[in-house]
Amino acid sequence: MSLLQRLYAPQPQAQGKGRLASVILLTVLAAIAILVPLLNLTMPPGSALHVPTYLVSLLGKYLCFAMLALSIDLIWGFCGILSLGHGAFFALGGYAMGMHLMRQIGERGVYGHPILPDFMVFLNWKELPWYWYGFDIFPFAVVMALFVPGLLAFVFGWLAFRSRVSGVYLSIITQAMTYALMLAFFRNDMGFGGNNGLTDFKDLLGFDLQADTTRAALLAATCIALGGCYLMCRAIVASKLGRLIAAIRDDEPRVRFLGYRVENFKLFVFVLSAMIAGLAGALYVPQVGIINPGEFTPANSIEAVIWVAIGGRGTLYGAIAGGVLVNYAKTVLTGLIPEIWLFALGGMFIAVTLFFPKGLVGSIPAAVDWMKTKAGGGGGASSAPLAKEAGE
């Protein structure tokens, strides 16, 4: 098949599978959004059906990570751009929300200053830096949580894609980007709390962050945001635009020869993906109660990539599953034997790249096909189009 044919050929089977997975995913998300808060708030603590509050927060955290994984999958799995800096977008979104939460503390801080956050009083700052203006307004903070990562991705991507930096080089400079941001945010005089970051949050929109109801609402909000982002990404990759993006992943020069401005499409996906990551960060911070420069460490970004690889690159639901699964494994393993976690994580990196190039969830369609053939059912063997490995 020629590229054009591949681009425009209907792919009913792949879409059918995608639709089924989407339905499952959205049902699960809806169930979590409704059931978990319900069970947490209505059931008495002793009951077998009671969901403890810590689990609510933990679930919310996992779903935020899943959203970060989703954003990485959009850019990596569908556009073939391996970004090792998505942790930076996540953290920037988190800082935007953290700044809002900081401003919400008001006079309840240790130093009781009506305007300046504690760490600024501590460092003898006299007035609020200009870039903190407006963060007392919630909608502004949300817009910034999307806008700042988006802007950084735009500038960075515009420079990189225009000069056709790609593959490994792009990965390495995205890593350098998050490393540079980490160094910057560790500085006290940046006005973001130095290495302590932002913490001691009190409430959000007037609701106490420690209250069970707030936590339940945050979890529900995360589910809705994740579901919404998923649907948006699904719509994009299923559209003509999505096929073009996949074509760029599979053979960029040919798409360019066809007359498309490849860099613009890449830039669009990159910025969108950065904004999803920023939103994930913004939802993450009120649920864990802290944001610090540690989120910028290159290791974090790379770890997020492995969630996607393990879940299944190029399948949006796989990335979400990977994000939740790996983080659940992390909670369990670090709880049991902390030393084991890095061995396990390292082992996952190696095993997935060697044995499951499509990831665990991504391998399910192939496994199902294989079972069908074995049962004599026949059935097409083509799964979601991952014609060529990215970066080849």
Binding site: L82, F156, L159, A160, R162, S163, R164, V165, S166, G167, V168, Y169, S171, I172, I173, Q175, A176, M177, Y179, A180, L183, A184, F186, R187, P298, A299, I302, V305, I306, A309, E339, L342, F343, L345, G346, G347, M348, F349, I350, V352, T353, L354, P357, E389, A390, G391, E392
Partner: protein
Amino acid sequence: MPARRRIDRGFSGFLMVLFIAMALLAPIAVQAAEKLESLVTELGTAKLSKKQEVVDRMIATGAPEVIGILEALVGRDLYTRKSDKKVVIGRKAEGRQLLLIDPVTGAEIGLAGSRDVKRVKTNNKLRSSVKATMGSLTLMSPDPQRRLEAAQGLLKSDDLGMLPLLETALSKEEDPAVKDALVLAQASIRLQSDKAEDRLGAVGVLAGRTDPDSRVMLSRLLLKDGETWREPDADVRAAAEDALADMERRLQFWRTVEHLYQGISLGSVLLLAAMGLAITFGVMGVINMAHGEMVMLGAYTTFVIQEGFRAAAPELFGWSLAVALPAAFLVSALVGVAMERGCIRFLYGRPLETLLATWGISLILQQAVRSVFGPTNREVGSPEWMQGAMESVAGITLTYNRLYIILFSLCVLGAVLLVLKKSAFGLQMRAVTQNREMARAMGIPTGRVDAMTFGLGSGIAGIAGVALSQIDNVSPNLGQAYIVDSFMVVVFGGVGNLWGAFAGAMSLGVVNKLLEPWAGAVLGKILVLVAIILFIQKRPRGLFALRGRAVES
């Protein structure tokens, strides 16, 4: 107890004092015949105002014991025994007892309680003048260290009478460091002169220098007490101003030299860390995120070898690094070969996947080292020949260990170049890089060459670890600290090219250190990273672009 040391030194200075007696004081030794014994007694009884005179007369005797007595006086260890009014030196003994010593003969004459003796009275003025005088006495010491101390001691003095003495000392002095201190002391004293031309001359001497002392002296001339200048003469002030400006220029120059040195030393560290990467990443196209851990393994190998030396043969400790070098190369190279055969060879042509897999390996190696050696820093010693520093004119220090690392990295670069260009293995390696199929057709075992190449790159990283253990903490995170920088160097310099790695490492190191003074360490580093990101825009393939097996992605 300092007093004891002072006395010992006093006796050891016997020769010196003899020398002074002959060379210096003999012409003016009017009262040389006086007995030291009676003078010492007089010192105990004289009024404070007369004591200076007694001291002068004691010095004039030229007796070798004088210095010991004066040192005891300055150190407030000189007492009068109440029973017989004999002047003695008292040293702290057990309990509250004092061990008494005859100042003239040096013999111990028994213990005494603190109530049995009375300290010979001194005041600050007397003590400082005696110190200065003693300084002048020691100017002629055969021990250069003592002469240096004496000259430095004179810096605080404003005694113009010292000038002829300094003149004599200078004419005889051969040690450059002492000579330098003498010149400075001379200028310092001349600045106190009443004659403007004397002070001008002193300014002229100071003008050629860059040390902080001269700077302080010069800037003091430009101070005002209220409305009046401290230095009344306008010419002298102008000269001082010029001299200061000139000094500032030279200091700036030397500071730049120091930053360059630091930059080159940082660059050579980066070069060591990046050289192996230039081979694995540049030549083979493998993104080895575990490269930093190869460096770490090298550093830990050094630690283990040193521990062995400490336990088995501490006297040979200086040789531990010589053993650690090949050992570190072997350990890292073996791990590298195992990595290549066990994992990476299945991922050729998929650079992003090697990135993930090797990241996993790096996590495992880190945790393994942490489990074996613990999470804390390990102490790795430096052999004696690597310690110390040379101090240059403007008080900047260039440490030797950094110098050795610069030389070492150049040696490693040369050796690697030789291996690549001259050895049969290097030839095979280049053949496989350029055309794998053709190389295989010619009978080159490509799989083995791949493994060996990867082993070579990893081994060089291990060697880098030996060097790094000399300047950095050896901890499981050691590799992480260098991996981003190493990749920057290779990407900046141009993939697959050792000269590119060299140029990249040196320019990054130097730019980093030159930026640091005005931007701060962190901001400097950020600026460098941003600059590289921008640079890659212009030259996506780095400074020296080369074609390699998987470079065209």
